[in-house]
Subunit: 223 residues, 2 copies
């Protein structure tokens, strides 16, 4: 059985969970707080980051969102994550990186620091300037989703792909942290409503990070 | 013909150049300084980052190191970059990300800022504390290469792979900036000497970034 090392608000682990949910791959969740830098976890992944996926019988260890998702896609054909021509696959990978790295850096990492780490770990007050900047950046990412969805059925093209799950995973953490304003983003909002009804989303929306409560609309499909 | 948008010290573009060199894929270099945020370049890649690879006849635009390298590997079988089982491929992707993202963040990005941007753009003095930290981090990455090469022929396993080219590309920029100390890193040094003799390396080592001179040993295979 697969063991996924993660914590509820890790958007990268959420990407993996959504992909496993789509593909119907059974797995257990193992709670890991990477900021605690546990020795056993550093032995698994010297980068000290979630997600890590371990097959407890074979001992296989898979590390990193892109590497894990590509592995799951290569070994499990259900709901393919990277379909089409080499150019179409490159566009999926570009956007998986856009959301998983750029949106993470611009929006999700600073929000997690200000709204989660400072609340539950350092007990400091959030930096309101940085919060405002992150929320402005979140708005920019919603604009970009609107733009893509003006031209395409799904974010990377005519097919549902890893790009959609990577984007939805990052967005779901921003939403949990109360930093999304959907006004003026009809395309992105409609797309996110569809994503929320996908198989992997429900268990994920039911979970809570201790000490950090989401807004009331967070787990509603109609928000 | 492929047009690669890059600048000489962009380590991500160097990864793509090494892969194209291995595969014998003809391409032109287009000089792009992403920090100038040229409108035409932002139209190509809204992330404003190099590398971008454009096929000028078909108009295909490929963006991002991993997406480009996977595309080149899928469409050109010479010197495969991701061979073996799904688990072996996951290990290649883990290490390509380790060097392309973690070593970049820990070592290469701060070095470029202190030793290139401050010299040629802002004309400020480098922050010596940050330089020392980057060089210490570079040493840690060499330790990790030594460790991997104690157990394996190449960085990701028994086969030469994208992980080796990603690592060599980052390392070559650190070396250009005079921040490598090979003492005590025999494994990594021997591996890098082999990498330096690969087909894509020679043209790359002959180039210079204006205003930033490399140390004398930089382009020697025997260093």
């Amino acid at each position: 059985m697969w063991q996924l090392y993660q914590y509820p608000l890790c958007p990268h682990s959420r990407t993996v969970r959504l992909v496993m949910g789509e593909k119907g791959i059974a797995h257990n969740l193992v709670r890991e707080h990477p900021w605690e830098r546990r020795d056993e976890f550093l032995d698994l992944n010297p980068a000290g980051e979630t997600p890590v996926l371990v097959e407890d019988r074979s001992g296989d260890v898979l590390i990193g969102t892109q590497a894990i998702c590509e592995y799951l896609d290569e070994t499990n054909p259900k709901t393919p994550m990277l379909e089409g021509s080499a150019a179409a696959r490159a566009e999926v990978r570009r956007l998986a990186d856009w959301f998983g790295r750029k949106m993470w850096q611009d929006v999700v990492a600073p929000l997690l620091e200000e709204k989660m780490f400072k609340r539950i770990i350092s007990r400091a007050s959030p930096d309101t300037v940085r919060l405002r900047e992150s929320m402005r950046a979140a708005n920019g990412h919603l604009d970009y989703m609107d733009y893509l969805l003006d031209h395409r059925r799904w974010l990377a093209g005519s097919r549902l792909s890893l790009a959609d799950f990577a984007a939805a995973a990052q967005l779901s953490v921003v939403d949990y942290l109360g930093a999304l304003d959907w006004r003026g983003h009809e395309n992105a909002k409609n797309w996110y409503a569809v994503m929320k009804s996908r198989p992997g989303f429900r268990p994920l929306l039911g979970e809570r990070m201790e000490g950090v409560a989401p807004p009331a609309h967070y787990d509603k499909v109609d928000f």
